[in-house]
Symmetry: none
Subunit: 234 residues, 2 copies
């Protein structure tokens, strides 16, 4: 509910691949956004004109027109309508390089955590609450998104990228049980084929680094999943 009432915003997701489109719209909806989808540039511009989304998630490679063109059209509609681009990781097209400079882009295959973080960042920026540093706190645990840094009881803790993403996901969902499948879906890239065993490994790594003393923050719910719980709430 933390997330749910914080971000009420209308999004437009544009991608011609049905898988990605559904994956994104479903999980964005779950995160509390109002989501519409479009399959190509023409439709995107049409919908955008009608529904005036707060942000557009836009695949760079569309069947009818490229991301640049769509972004340009959207801009012509007036009203700030920021764009978050989706692009292939190894894109070398100069068209794409141009887009990438916009900074708000995510490369495929992405993890949902990445996309969500970006969307929130862009919305935060356009809404003007610029300066609040994005610092999550649970008990004596602190996480700074921009600095990509974590403190436990005031001490800096070094985390690998995956450890960091996992902890971030847990912290954003403090007090909510997350199944291993959910964690896998959010923290790992959507094309990850492996099994949920990795999650166990990474929870183990995390505990070793940030949860060695009482009161424990990361709790296992047998057969259900994991929760991060603030101290006294136990």
């Amino acid at each position: 509910m933390d997330v749910l009432d914080r971000v009420e915003a209308r999004l437009l997701v544009v991608d011609d691949e049905p898988n990605i489109r559904e994956l994104l719209s479903a999980s964005l909806r779950l995160s509390g956004f109002e989501v519409m989808t479009a399959v190509d540039g023409r439709e995107a511009v049409q919908f955008a004109e009608r529904i005036r989304p707060d942000l557009v998630v836009l695949d760079v490679m569309l069947p009818d027109m490229d991301g640049f063109a769509v972004a340009g059209r959207l801009r012509e509609l007036g009203g700030q309508m920021p764009v978050l681009f989706l692009t292939a990781r190894d894109a070398t097209d100069d068209k794409v390089t141009g887009l990438k400079v916009a900074d708000d882009y995510v490369t495929k295959p992405f993890s949902l955590e990445e996309v969500l973080a970006r969307i929130r960042a862009v919305l935060r920026r356009t809404r003007g609450d610029l300066d609040l540093p994005v610092r999550l706190r649970v008990g004596d645990l602190e996480l700074d998104e921009e600095a990509h840094q974590v403190w436990k009881a005031g001490e800096v803790v070094r985390l690998s990228p995956t450890e960091f993403k996992l902890l971030h996901y847990l912290m954003v969902n403090t007090g909510r049980v997350l199944s291993k499948a959910q964690i896998l879906d959010h923290v790992w890239n959507y094309d990850f084929g492996g099994d949920a065993g990795v999650v166990e490994s990474y929870v183990s790594y995390l505990r070793r680094k940030i949860d060695t003393v009482e009161p424990r923050l990361i709790h296992t719910l047998r057969g259900v999943g994991y929760v991060l719980r603030p101290p006294q709430g136990d």
Copy 2:
């Protein structure tokens, strides 16, 4: 956040190439500016009259009229409205002399760092806050933008142009992780086709020149990017 709240200003970007227009407007917006765009001289003058931007970024080669004509018209509108010209690197001499009318100019292909630095400089000048020297400081590291000079522990350090731009970008974003892609996109020209390996090389050069002793300022976050962090923050 440093940059973001320092420069709130309204810009008008005029270029007929959609790529450049989008590239510029997107990244200027990300840097905290309010941006409008125009595709030719006529539109530029129209918009400028209406919205009264604080600065106009103006391509010299426009389909309908040349940049200087546009600049003249803008001047006629009255009210100081400085112009930053964009011009091809191999512009002939008479054109370059023409640029003297301009408040400043940047040659294509540019890097975003260049454009941003110029815009800030021009705005600073026209606003009259001349005396604040633009000096960035992180630990015992100092960088003077105008003098284009760097000191480490009080000693002047000689940096190549690219090294300087890289360090500048890192310092402006102190405490924020920057991915290699981001660095590439900001410090290198937008048409640079090479890979992110250069960034590694230049970080290596920089470290050798300004970061050989503890406490280190430039940190590698494996799989994420680089950060410049002030000493005690570790």
